[in-house]
């Protein structure tokens, strides 16, 4: 099962091995996806938060698929503006849509217009814990 992962979940998994983000990214039945734009911001954030860059590199190499998104960032932000409350978050929705996933996992639910994303793109936005709960019900 392919799921697109927002950067807050990736960073959370690097900060704690007892949090829901860490548990989620270690579930063998999911294939987590990020985009090159996500990877770029993750590199910036890990540096700012003094997280060892090797930890991120290893996690991405071992667990993630990096799915390319086409188009200029400025253009895709405009194109997907209806799905976010902060236009700077639009590349996350673009990544999920481009990768054709059914699930987008984020802690930052308030920055996404969940109804539009579900209704128009057929992508369900969930927190890590809620997605883990869903996996348990399968």
């Amino acid at each position: 099962m392919h799921v697109f992962i927002d950067s807050d979940v990736v960073i959370s998994s690097l900060l704690s091995s007892t949090g829901a983000a860490y548990f989620l990214l270690n579930q063998s039945q999911i294939k987590p996806i990020i985009s090159p734009v996500s990877l770029k911001e993750l590199t910036i954030v890990t540096k700012r938060m003094s997280i060892a860059s090797q930890k991120l590199e290893l996690l991405v190499k071992e667990r993630f698929e990096v799915f390319n998104i086409t188009g200029e960032l400025k253009e895709i932000r405009q194109e997907y503006a209806d799905y976010v409350t902060d236009i700077n978050d639009a590349h996350i929705v673009v990544g999920a849509h481009s990768a054709k996933v059914k699930y987008l996992i984020s802690y930052n639910l308030k920055h996404f217009k969940t109804d539009n994303i579900k209704g128009e793109l057929d992508i369900l936005l969930l927190t890590p814990a809620l997605f883990l709960q869903y996996l348990r019900s399968q």
Partner: protein, 139 residues
């Protein structure tokens, strides 16, 4: 009935409310800044869960009758749920006792361990979100 109000000191973690499945209504809840305090209007159905969670003591065990009252179910339904394994209970002699984590899902939409794991991440979430916002602005 008007929504309940909870008054918080600024800086208190309110992410607790976001663990509810229907948090869309919480996101729409009115937030009013008053000096260093703010109040949040909590819809009735969420307020009910808040009260229930405050009531639950995680180291305590409950009788099926108490659980029936908390979940607004009949006593027989609770016994059926125990027999089907949907509520995990310990039989002591002829009596059942139910631990709080066994019924946690009914109030939060999450099993107890997942709720704990969720809260673990949320301890650092504000600083994580802050750094991500800064990084996205400079992309």
């Amino acid at each position: 009935m008007p929504p309940q109000k909870i008054l918080y000191e600024e800086g208190v973690d309110t992410s607790f409310f976001l663990s509810f499945k229907d948090d869309i209504q919480i996101k729409e809840a009115h937030r009013l800044i008053r000096g260093n305090q703010y109040s949040i209007d909590i819809p009735d159905h969420v307020w009910y869960h808040v009260i229930m969670l405050r009531t639950i003591d995680t180291i305590k065990a409950y009788t099926p009758e108490q659980v029936a009252e908390m979940l607004q179910l009949s006593k027989n339904t609770v016994y059926d749920l125990i027999n089907r394994g949907e509520i995990v209970a310990k039989k002591i002699g002829k009596l059942y006792r139910i631990s709080a984590p066994s019924i946690f899902f009914f109030f939060t939409g999450l099993d107890y361990d997942l709720h704990q794991a969720d809260q673990e991440d949320r301890k650092r979430l504000s600083s994580v979100e802050e750094e991500i916002t800064k990084a996205r602005a400079q992309l």
